[in-house]
């Protein structure tokens, strides 16, 4: 497959598409304001462009950007799958645009939708209750940490100060536990890439507040000993937290609640195909078993006896983790996606995601050291530098895998094709992997050549900080 990304360049010596400020900036003075001078600023200097100029600027920028609709995007653990168009349209319905301070009686439709989504997610996760408030996966993790803390404190066990996290876990797990004030105990993995039960035994104690686990883990491996792990954690009085980043692998095949997890978050932007928007918004609803329900963030939505919906404050609520109700528009899209797929579609999504990963993993020349894997696999670039492999893959029109992580695999290429690719695309993907695998260091070093920009100097970006157009002008 031949690939050339658009590259807009007005000035060969300077850069690519000029900054808005370089096109036309104007200063507006604030001299005739309805306020006294001492309460106002003097002026504002911003770009001043006509609508056609702006349309052209942002269209050019979009052409220098790669999305799921540009081509394969097998970025491991990020579940970059196709975002159906109609979900944008339903989120744009005029009735979805309401103010968060509206009285309950006047937003029955919004409350019904939230209630319906809570219910769907509870069923999918095997959980008893769900909050939709956390605006991202990491915010969901932090919410889970707050819930665990509140639960232990209510039981007179507030002295538990450790959260155990496997070394291969997402970095957010460590950061979320630390944000909650916990000491993070890093759990080394076993030889098979899964949790080492002896190491877990050694890590567990009466100080353990929770174990945060991803299942399948970041190597794509299912933690087969999950019931025993749950029992061990529960035996010392700890809680088991499920990181939902990889839930796409399990839809309709296994449920965290059935495995013994007490708390989980859902990344609706991954599993339920709401667009990632260049880095968000996402949404990170949290599900819990009934023992933890009284601690959920306020407000929650419930159905009343006369078929209306109301907000209420759980008895022992941890408070709030978002100013309002979370990322509402994302939640609308997630509801629409789940409703569109239903039972058969959700089950099929995970089946095809797992089939695709297995098929692709089988085709490529790079070694995949751990298995059997589910929706993603971690290949090793071997003697090649994984970061260079990624840059070269760009030239083949492929967004590369997540690289150099998890560290348990040398020069890791963490690959997640998702269910949306057909065999032909997977074969093209495999061909790109194999072409790069056969190339020498010079070819890799020179890459990328066909993207908007050539290899970018990361060191100079960090040493000589230029974080605004003002800093460039100086």
């Amino acid at each position: 497959m031949r690939f050339d990304q658009a590259r807009w360049s007005d000035d060969e010596s300077e850069g690519y598409e000029p900054l808005l400020s370089e096109k036309d900036a104007t200063e507006a003075t604030v001299d005739d304001s309805p306020l006294p001078d001492d309460l106002t600023r003097d002026s504002v200097e911003l770009p001043e462009l006509s609508e056609p100029e702006l349309a052209r600027h942002y269209t050019r920028l979009s052409e220098m950007n790669y999305g799921v609709e540009s081509g394969p995007y097998p970025l491991g653990s990020c579940t970059m799958k196709y975002n159906p168009k109609f979900t944008e349209d339903v989120a744009a319905l005029p009735d979805a645009a309401v103010h968060p301070d509206r009285s309950e009686g006047t937003v029955q439709g919004s409350l019904e939708l939230l209630h319906g989504l809570q219910d769907y997610l509870a069923r999918i996760g095997g959980m008893d209750a769900v909050t939709l408030q956390p605006p991202a996966g990491a915010a969901g993790e932090f919410t889970g940490i707050l819930l665990a803390q509140a639960y232990h404190e209510a039981n007179g066990e507030g002295s538990r100060h450790e959260v155990i996290v496997p070394e291969s876990a997402h970095g957010t797990n460590f950061a979320s536990a630390a944000l909650g004030g916990y000491d993070v105990v890093s759990l080394p993995g076993g030889d098979d890439g899964r949790v080492d039960l002896d190491a877990l035994e050694a890590a567990l104690s009466e100080d353990t507040a929770a174990l945060m686990l991803t299942n399948p883990n970041t190597l794509g491996l299912f933690e087969r000993d999950i019931e025993q792990i749950a029992e061990m954690v529960h035996d010392v009085g700890g809680l088991l937290y499920y990181d939902g980043a990889n839930l796409n692998a399990l839809l309709g095949r296994a449920r965290p609640g059935d495995m013994g997890f007490d708390i989980m978050h859902y990344n609706v932007h991954k599993t339920f195909a709401t667009p990632h928007g260049g880095g968000g918004p996402g949404a990170g609803p949290v599900g819990v078993v009934s023992d933890l329900e009284p601690f959920l963030p306020t407000p929650r939505v419930r159905e009343t006896e006369d078929d209306t919906y109301e907000l209420f404050e759980p008895d022992e609520t941890v408070g709030k983790v978002h100013g309002y109700q979370g990322n509402w528009l994302v939640l609308v899209k997630a509801y629409a996606y789940i409703a569109r797929l239903g039972d058969p579609g959700l089950r099929d999504a995970s089946a095809k995601a797992v089939l695709n990963a297995n098929y692709l993993g089988e085709q490529i020349d790079y070694e995949v050291p751990y298995g059997p894997y589910h929706h993603e696999f971690v290949a090793s670039a071997g003697d090649q530098d994984a970061a260079d492999v990624a840059k070269r893959m760009l030239d083949y029109g492929v967004h590369p895998p997540t690289t150099k992580w998890p560290e348990i695999v040398p020069e890791a290429l963490m690959t997640e094709p998702t269910e949306i690719e057909n065999r032909e695309t997977l074969d093209q993907l495999a061909a790109a992997f194999d072409a790069v695998a056969s190339e020498d260091d010079d070819a890799l070093d020179a890459a990328p050549e066909r993207t908007a920009a050539r290899r970018i100097d990361q060191t100079s970006a960090a040493r000589n900080l230029r974080l605004s157009w003002q800093s460039i002008e100086e």
């Binding site: 400020s21 937003v107 605006p135 968000g280 100013g323 095809k352 990328p448």
Partner: protein, 445 residues
């Protein structure tokens, strides 16, 4: 029909039955179920009971469900504001290369989004006067929480007190409390003086143990703080960070945060998205000296191998995927696409458009307050201050009953307490103020 091949499966998985068979055979499996390495004891063989629907059916269902929301003209604010969003914002931001991408881990192939975020950061730098802006937090409340944890890091040795205005939106206070739950910070309030911070009380309360003083401009009651520089001085004299809460529209007119010595600016963007039941985007800007303590993502300019300017995420060694439990924040997925929308919205306004919009927020609020004040049984504004977008009115009748009556007439307003209502007016609802006043005249006597 948009069913593709898989009538009984995901409409977005493209496999034909023949293709599935061939791929299963290629991986040596008889059946899809064989690919799942899950012990029988935890396999799920049941049904969720979620019926699959056609696209048309889902769309109809959601139109009906959301149609249950009453069609009200909203005069609500208190941190979430409705400003008209130009069509160009939707059309450009919905281009799929933007919408369906993720964080720019590979900068060479994501220059477009990186440049848009760099431009967004630059706009915030211009509007705040501070040197550093990140490219989004979830919302104003979480940005405030992040500001407090930043204050804790840079002033860790000096104390543990965080001072916030008594008149702070309750939800913001609540989120802040949760963000500092894992630190030894304690949140305390400063009393109000006619809608603004009581400076004498602040002078009494701020001390060497204080690491952060938070103020808002405009306040939750819509008043404009008149003595921000003095608040900043009190914070500075006690070696505490001065954190200022505001929004992009207000920044177009009100005192520049840098000119009142703000150390951090947080708030809600309030441009780029319509009212979205509270979904928005958090602002975060600060001084250069704290750049390594900033939460969230930063886009920097660099050069590529061809010697041209190009953009990349930078200082990632602060972030969770590298520093794990020692990261400045746990944030990963943020609100980047909303930042893109906000940047397009600001760019489409231009400098004079932004100043005009901000001035409208002052004059419309002033005009509406005058008209409301002329109604028998109502007095406005309660606070003898300048106002931005919103103000509080006193009602002789019980305010909740007046608000309920207005609701029945098609207007949503906020009841502050027993005899106080709050009204918020922007460019979006300014055309309906006469009708609101007429309705209020009927129900308030």
């Amino acid at each position: 029909m948009t069913g593709h091949h898989t009538a009984a499966g995901s409409p977005f998985a493209p496999h034909t039955p023949e293709e599935t068979e061939a791929m299963l055979s290629a991986v040596g499996a008889d059946d899809e179920a064989d690919l799942f390495d899950i012990p029988d004891s935890v396999r799920f063989d049941g049904e969720f009971g979620i019926e699959a629907r056609s696209e048309r059916a889902v769309r109809r269902e959601l139109r009906e469900t959301l149609g249950e929301n009453d069609d009200l003209t909203e005069f609500l604010g208190r941190g979430h504001y409705d400003h008209y969003v130009p069509s160009i914002v939707d059309h450009l931001s919905l281009r799929s290369e933007f919408l369906t991408s993720y964080t720019q881990y590979q900068p060479e192939i994501t220059q477009g989004f990186l440049q848009a975020l760099f431009e967004y950061q630059s706009m915030l730098v211009e509007l705040t006067g501070l040197e550093i802006a990140n490219c989004s937090m979830y919302d104003a409340a979480t940005a405030l929480g992040e500001a407090a944890t930043l204050a804790d890091r840079v002033r860790a040795t000096s104390g543990h007190r965080v001072l916030v205005p008594e008149l702070l939106r309750e939800e913001r206070r609540d989120v802040l409390e949760n963000y500092v739950a894992g630190t030894d910070l304690v949140v305390e309030t400063v009393p109000e003086d006619d809608g603004n911070v009581d400076l004498d009380a602040l002078a009494d309360r701020v001390d060497a143990e204080t690491v952060m003083v938070y103020a808002e401009n405009p306040t939750v009651r819509g008043t404009i703080e008149e003595r921000l520089a003095e608040i900043g001085d009190l914070a500075d004299a006690n070696d505490a960070l001065f954190v200022l809460g505001t929004d992009l529209v207000a920044l177009g007119l009100l005192q520049r945060p840098a000119d009142v010595d703000a150390d951090v600016v947080v708030g809600d963007a309030s441009l780029g998205l319509p009212t979205s039941y509270g979904m928005g985007m958090g602002l975060f800007a600060t001084r250069e000296e704290y750049v390594r303590q900033v939460p969230g993502r930063l886009v920097g300019a660099s050069d590529d191998e061809a010697g041209r300017r190009a953009y990349t995420l930078t200082l990632q060694t602060r972030e969770q995927h590298i520093r794990r439990e020692r990261a400045t924040s746990n944030i990963c997925t943020n609100q980047a696409w909303v930042a893109l929308r906000t940047a397009i919205h600001v760019a489409s306004l231009g400098p004079s458009g932004l100043v005009d919009l901000a001035e409208t927020c002052v004059t419309e609020a002033r005009d509406l307050a005058e008209a409301v004040d002329a109604i028998d049984g109502v007095r406005a504004p309660v606070h003898d201050r300048h106002h931005f977008r919103e103000f509080v009115a006193h009602t002789d009748q019980p305010a909740p009953a007046v608000a309920a009556d207005l609701e029945a007439e098609g207007y949503a307003v906020h009841a502050v307490d027993d005899h106080e209502l709050q009204f918020c007016v922007t460019d979006a609802n300014a055309g309906s103020t006469d009708e609101l006043v007429a309705a209020l005249t009927e129900v308030a006597r």
